[in-house]
Symmetry: C2
């Protein structure tokens, strides 16, 4: 692990969900339980679960979550209870999730 | 326009990009010019263009931008120069963009 690799810098997990609108409310309720698990983990900074205003949007839900380091994020998502909950959601709901780790390339604020 | 519809509340535009990694650098350079246009518009609050750490991620770029209202966002993206730049990017690059308007459904910060 070197400074240059940026392993000690904050990362942003973004998870993009394709989900049937009929499943939306129940999925969010399960998701919220997982989020409570994650909030208690070392390195957690914040999350925002965004919901599309239009039911026509391809991605109805997008989670943007900040963690202190990629290592913290990996450790948190290795949790057995977390993984079991993800599997239960996949089995129950018509959902495709596309999680990946990001960093801001460009940013601006007024 | 009523209070209840939330038309006067902040919105988050999230644009999810599927893009060939070979096109990434040049696309970001064009995108940055469009972002400069947007920053000057009424109602602009902030943007973060996130880039995936892994080239295997399906969505290599995701823009998360906050606006004062949905009306401000619509007015900004109706700009002729903006639309011409979006079309030029679509013609030049192997890119699929999925923009939609969101609001946070659940959020937490340490």
């Amino acid at each position: 692990m070197s400074q240059q690799s940026g392993d000690d810098k904050p990362v942003t997990l973004i998870n993009v969900f394709e989900i049937a609108t009929a499943d939306l409310e129940a999925f969010v309720a399960q998701w919220e339980k997982r989020a409570a698990l994650m909030r208690a983990k070392p390195g957690f900074r914040s999350f925002h679960l965004y919901r599309a205003l239009s039911s026509d949007a391809r991605f109805q839900l997008i989670n943007v979550a900040e963690w202190d380091t990629e290592e913290d994020l990996r450790a948190a998502t290795s949790d057995d209870q977390f993984r079991a909950s993800v599997q239960a959601s996949s089995a129950r709901f018509d959902v495709s999730a596309y999680p990946a780790v990001y960093r801001p390339e460009i940013a601006a604020t007024v």
